[in-house]
């Protein structure tokens, strides 16, 4: 045996060629055997098998047995007929899908500030988002007019080509300084701010965790981003954590994919649709635990929450640096047009080339930017106005407590309150009709209210109908009491 191992010969069991050769010879001999077999069997057997083989070949190749779909070619005449036949739907649906009263809204005369002049009647303003009473502020208007005489109205171009005017740079710098962030970026419309900021970061394949109560602009930003959205119940941190865990499990299964899947968490400071405050400390804890970047829309909380009006982060004493992006609409507290995003330069600068509303839209009219600068000046000079506003919000909340048939929703400190029905009625329209009655009665008594308007078909999660009551700092305590009294009486009249 040893000798065989030392000098293996071809074909011997130790040789590497042994198997190949042997199999070849086996096949060859088998083949010959089969052929030999055919010489032995009767002729009709060979013929039968040959016919079978030919038949199978035919079955495979013949056209009638191809199960592929045939391409249908239409003749030109048929095409013309189809074109003739096709009747498009009308451009707009045959029945109106919107409330008929929204197309003829009340026209406001004069300045929509402390009071609203509607149908020649001065009404207390409990409806607009002018929280700090900057509409009609003389100082702001003077600054705006000065700016108007220097720059004209429009900027006639996007920021990229000579639409960047020195006031825009100044405002961005001031906003960054005021919010204590590294950089701010200015948009020319409040709605577009967050709606452009989200798709600038979150792309297809990314995951966004979003509160079900967010405003419409955020919803549209999410649609534009084409990311996967995981909705958690409004202000429900347990539900959020459940979703985060779900995602974590998914990521652990596929770590390669997880390493390029960005995760974002989007909340509002004060929810415009609910009037309550996001629990930021818990959110920050979850941010670091699950490594999710957090974006906060502070449109309703900037200039409202916090000792000096710096918003949600100041309210909870969370360093604003830890929030990745803060987006604010200047159309509420600052009482001008536009919006801004602020955060670290690393994050914010990216929007200068990829924020659609920034790159492709004309810049903010310089006079409106100047107005915002002046508004910031006033906010810095009179920091007690924020406490005043919160006082008044609390007062209104207390006054609106225990209305007949209505419940006041929202945080005490929030200047936005929602009056919702205590008992659900059959349809949303019925509920709205009741609320509209209250609004109409209040308007006759000199209190301007509005029901919260939503596009019912487009909202992802339609909030229940409500009257949205807002406070502005110019309302005196007596006026707030009077307003609440009017609402109380109206509610009694409707539900009594």
């Amino acid at each position: 045996m040893a000798g065989v191992e030392h000098c293996p010969t071809e074909g011997s069991p130790g040789s590497p060629y042994y198997f190949q050769l042997s199999y070849f010879t086996i096949y060859l001999t088998k083949g010959i055997e089969i052929l030999e077999y055919y010489t032995k069997v009767p002729f009709y057997h060979v013929l039968f098998e040959a016919v079978l083989v030919i038949w199978i070949y035919r079955l495979i190749t013949s056209k009638t047995f191809r199960f592929r779909e045939q391409k249908i070619e239409l003749t030109e005449k048929e095409e013309e007929e189809l074109i003739e036949e096709w009747q498009p739907e009308p451009l707009v649906p045959a029945t109106p899908t919107y409330d008929l009263d929204v197309i003829t809204p009340k026209v406001v005369e004069g300045k929509p500030g402390h009071t609203l002049k509607i149908d020649d009647m001065e009404c207390l303003n409990f409806a607009t988002f002018n929280f700090l009473g900057f509409v009609g502020n003389d100082k702001i208007e003077d600054t705006a007019i000065k700016s108007l005489h220097r720059y004209g109205v429009g900027s006639c171009g996007p920021r990229g080509f000579y639409g960047t005017i020195d006031v825009h740079l100044e405002l961005e710098e001031r906003l960054a300084k005021y919010t204590r962030t590294e950089e701010a970026i200015l948009y020319s419309y409040g709605f577009s701010t967050i709606a452009s900021a989200i798709p600038a970061y979150s792309k297809r394949g990314d995951v966004v965790f979003c509160d079900k109560g967010v405003s419409f602009a955020i919803q549209k930003g999410l649609v534009a981003s084409r990311s996967r959205v995981m909705w958690f119940e409004h202000n429900d941190m347990e539900d959020l954590e459940r979703l985060l865990l779900e995602q974590k499990e998914k990521d652990e299964k596929n770590p390669k994919k997880a390493s390029v899947t960005r995760r974002f968490l989007i909340v509002e400071g004060i929810y415009v649709n609910y009037g309550d405050i996001a629990p930021l400390p818990k959110l920050m804890e979850l941010k670091y635990k699950y490594k999710v970047r957090i974006f906060i829309d502070e449109s309703a909380s900037f200039g409202v929450l916090g000792h000096t009006g710096r918003g949600l982060t100041e309210h909870f004493n969370v360093p604003i640096k830890e929030v990745d992006l803060v987006s604010v609409s200047m159309e509420n507290s600052l009482a001008t047009i536009g919006g801004f995003c602020c955060g670290t330069t690393f994050v914010v600068d990216h929007q200068r080339i990829s924020g659609a509303g920034y790159c492709f839209s004309a810049s903010l009219p310089p006079m409106l930017a100047s107005a915002a600068i002046e508004a910031l000046n006033i906010m810095e000079q009179k920091p007690d106005m924020f406490d005043d506003l919160r006082e008044k919000a609390k007062l209104l909340h207390a006054e609106l407590d225990g209305l007949q048939g209505l419940v006041c929703e929202g945080s005490e400190e929030s200047p936005i309150k929602h009056l919702r029905l205590l008992e659900q009625l059959e349809t949303i329209d019925d509920e709205e009709d009741k609320l509209k009655e209250i609004v109409a009665i209040a308007l006759r008594n000199g209190v301007a209210l509005t029901i919260a308007r939503y596009l019912k078909d487009d909202e992802k999660f339609l909030p229940p109908p409500s009257i949205r009551v807002t406070v502005n700092v110019q309302l005196t305590k007596e006026e707030i009491k009077r307003g609440a009294q009017v609402i109380r009486q109206a509610a009694e009249q409707v539900f009594g």
Binding site: L91, K106, G110, P112, A127, I145, V153, Y162, E331, H350
Partner: protein
């Protein structure tokens, strides 16, 4: 009272006819109108022959140089990245705060482009000015710090001729009747309403502006919005839905693309301003229907622009209208750059080509450019079917009722609205002077003397002259003669800076 109740009372036959006539009128076509008459055919043919646009290819030298440029940039960028990774070089990029272990915020390639191509040249963009964006601007000079990551103003201001702003009619000015009117508006109405149009954001001014705009563009009704970009992005979704098809020009503006995406409709693209491509897409779509649902399309909306801002090309409107009628599609025309700037009366491409505005279903435009303000409008055909059904609904009413901007965004700022009203009145000649006519005339090179007389010496104003001269100098110029935008193509990105 709902319309459906009314309908049920009507005899079947009249109900059918009413529905049909309503449909056809609403869409801007009817069966009689579908066929073009011989005269119209001839006109179209004539138009096709006379319509000249140029898109020269890059000269070989320029093409090679541009590719070389990118190759060079990418090569050195890789070396820089390597050096940073090895620790030889320090990155000057600002850092993210406390986010160790997070998934990188930017995709690798996008970030590479941003770091190495955009940042070194970033000072060529977003240059700040410290004056009106008028004919002469004051440019604020900046110096580059940290290789482009920061810019510092040097305090030096240079006066320059402005060929970059969309100030077609010279309304970006800080004196004159428009500015005075805007000042009045600030004193009367303040700067903003802090409320949406559906709530308490409607002023009488807005209604006045809407009727004026409708009259200006030749449509029965219009609605205005606070921002041009969101006019497109928030209103297209109210017009089309998931059952519908959008046929969009390949080079449409980002706002139209955003709007189309938000709408959930299927989007098909045709080659830029190529009518053969449009017809083949239209024909295929109508014949084959929706391939996913195996049903015909609900409606087909063609989205085009009047003047394309990056190519300087003018829409072949008469041909688009003919195709739209033939295939019963709807037409959405974005006149952001053509309203006020094109046409003998400054009323956009319909005015320029002599097309009836009724043939265009939805006319959209912005106030940023020719009117020197901000915001946008949508004007559409109003369908009055009062005689058949008690309640009449209109396209504009539908937009008014269900536009995202109208429901959730703040209404237009009063001084801005007034600027539009007064500038539009000047263009229409309703201010009692011939100022508007002068400005429009100045848009034509034949009136050189007028140009010199007017004080609106914007380089864009005499664009035809400008275009000819630039071409004589040997630049590659894109676009149509009538376009106020003259893209000078310089190919290699290095030339920009």
């Amino acid at each position: 009272m709902t319309p459906s109740k009314d309908k049920s009372k009507m005899p079947v036959r009249s109900r059918l006819t009413s529905r049909r006539s309503q449909k056809s009128r609403k869409n801007g076509f009817s069966s009689e109108k579908n066929q073009l008459s011989a005269l119209q055919e001839e006109k179209l043919k004539e138009f096709r022959e006379s319509f000249v646009e140029e898109f020269q290819d890059a000269p070989l030298y320029a093409a090679v140089m541009s590719y070389l440029f990118y190759f060079y940039m990418a090569f050195f960028a890789c070396i820089k990245d390597l050096m940073i990774r090895l620790g030889v070089r320090k990155s000057k990029r600002p850092k993210e705060y406390k986010n160790e272990g997070f998934v990188p915020l930017y995709p690798e390639f996008e970030d590479f482009y941003f770091r190495h191509i955009y940042i070194p040249y970033s000072w060529a963009f977003n240059k700040p000015i410290s004056s009106t964006a008028g004919p002469i601007i004051q440019l604020m000079e900046r110096e580059v710090v940290d290789g482009g990551w920061q810019h510092r103003l040097t305090g030096v201001k240079t006066r320059m001729i402005n060929t970059g702003s969309y100030n077609y009619l010279g309304f970006a000015e800080n004196v004159g009747p428009c500015v005075e009117a805007a000042e009045e508006a600030v004193k009367k109405h303040g700067l903003a309403c802090c409320s949406s149009r559906h709530e308490f954001g409607s002023l009488a001014l807005h209604n006045e502006l809407e009727t004026l705009v409708a009259r200006f563009v030749g449509k029965p009704a219009a609605m205005v919005f606070g921002m041009g970009f969101s006019t497109n992005s928030t209103n297209i979704p109210t017009l089309v839905g998931k059952k519908d098809l959008i046929i969009s020009d390949a080079l449409n503006h980002s706002s139209l693309v955003t709007g189309a995406r938000l709408s959930g409709a299927t989007i098909r693209v045709f080659k830029h301003n190529d009518m053969k491509s449009l017809e083949s897409v239209l024909r295929e779509s109508v014949v084959k229907g929706n391939p996913r649902r195996h049903r015909p399309w609900g409606k087909i909306l063609i989205i085009v622009e009047g003047v394309y801002s990056m190519e300087g090309s003018v829409l072949r409107l008469p041909e688009v209208v003919a195709l739209k009628k033939k295939y019963k599609a709807l037409l959405y025309l974005d006149e952001a750059h053509s309203i006020g700037a094109v046409g003998p009366n400054g009323r956009g491409v319909t005015d320029y080509f002599g097309v009836d505005p009724a043939d265009v279903d939805i006319m959209m435009g912005t106030f940023t450019k020719s009117f020197g303000a901000a915001g946008g409008y949508i004007a559409a055909t109003q369908v009055n079917i009062n005689t058949l059904i008690e309640y009449s609904w209109e396209i504009i009413d539908h937009i008014r009722g269900s536009s995202h901007s109208a429901a959730y965004a703040s209404s237009m700022s009063p001084p801005v609205a007034v600027q539009v009203i007064s500038s539009m009145k000047i263009i229409m000649g309703e201010d009692g002077t011939d100022e508007g006519k002068r400005r429009l005339k100045a848009l034509d090179e034949n009136n050189r003397e007028d140009i010199l007389k007017t004080r609106f010496l914007s380089a864009i104003i005499y664009f035809r002259y400008f275009r000819r001269r630039v071409k004589e100098m040997g630049y590659v110029v894109f676009g149509h003669n009538a376009s106020p935008i003259i893209p000078l193509v310089i190919f290699a990105p290095g030339n920009t800076a």
